[in-house]
Point group: C2
Chain length 116, copies 2
DNA sequence: TTATCGAGTTACCTGAAGGAAACCTGGTCA
DNA sequence: TGACCAGGTTTCCTTCAGGTAACTCGATAA
C-alpha cells in the first residue's frame, strides 16, 4: 500500500509562496549585510563599502536600488559638495533586524555545536 | 575636506562576516521553504515535493543533505517497505522558524503598502 | 589645469547553481 | 514477470547574478 501524503498539520498555514515572496525581500548578494550595517544608523555609500569589504561598487549600487524599491531602506541626498548620500532603514526595514538577529543567534549556536 | 568615514555607532557589533556565516545556514534555493514546510512536523521526501511544487528532486535532495550537514534538520529512515524517510527540524532548526515568521510578517506588510 | 572626491555607471566575462529528464534500487503484490 | 512504489542519483545544459576594471560627472581645492 503506497504511503499517503499527509496534510501538513499546521493551524492556518501561510502559503509557501508567501514565504518565497517574503524571503525575496532580503535576496541578492550582501542584502542582509547591508541591512545589518544600517541597523545602527544611516550610512553613506563608501561607508557601506568599508563595512562590507568584499562587496563591489556595482553590486552595492544594485542592492541599494533594489532594497529601496522594496521599501526596506531610504536614500537621502545631502546637498554637500560633492553630494553625499545617506542610506537608512525604513521603519519596516528596521523590523527585519530582529529576524536577522535570530538567524545569527541560531547560526552562532550551530557553529558552537560544530566546533565545541 | 573629504568626508570622514563614521564608525558605525553600534554597542558591540557582531562582525558582518558573522552575519554572512549565519545567513549561509539558510542559503540555497528553497532552503527556507523546506524549513517552513517542516515547521509543523516531520515530512517525507515526496511530501516536501508536493509542498513545494516547483522544486526538483535534485535540488530538494541537495538541499536536504546540506541542511542536515548544517544541523538544521534530521533524517530518519523508517523500516517500512519501501523504506520511507522522514525529515524533521532539529531543536536549533526549529529556532529558525520565528525568524522566518518575522521576515514573512515584514514582507507581508511591505506588500500591503505596495498594493494598498 | 589637474588631481581628488563621492557616488555611482558601463562593458565584459565566468562559474556555480539550478532546471529537465532519464535512470537506479530493492522489495512487494497482482 | 512485470509494474509500481519511495527516494533518490546522474547527465547534461543553460542562465544570470556577481566579479573586475575602467570610466563618468560636477564641484572644489591645491
Amino acid at each position: 500500500m503506497p504511503l499517503k501524503v499527509r496534510k501538513n498539520q499546521s493551524p492556518e498555514p501561510p502559503q509557501p509562496c508567501m514565504l518565497t515572496h517574503c524571503m525575496a525581500v532580503i535576496s541578492g548578494a550582501w542584502a542582509a549585510n547591508v541591512i545589518w550595517s544600517l541597523r545602527a544608523g544611516p550610512r553613506r555609500f563608501n561607508e557601506l563599502r568599508t563595512d562590507i569589504p568584499p562587496i563591489s561598487a556595482k553590486v552595492l549600487s544594485t542592492r541599494l536600488t533594489e532594497l529601496e524599491e522594496r521599501g526596506v531602506l531610504s536614500r537621502n541626498v545631502q546637498p554637500t559638495s560633492p553630494p553625499s548620500v545617506e542610506y537608512a532603514l525604513t521603519e519596516l526595514g528596521g523590523e527585519l533586524v530582529p529576524a536577522l538577529e535570530a538567524i545569527v543567534k541560531v547560526g552562532h549556536r550551530l557553529k558552537m555545536r560544530d566546533e565545541g
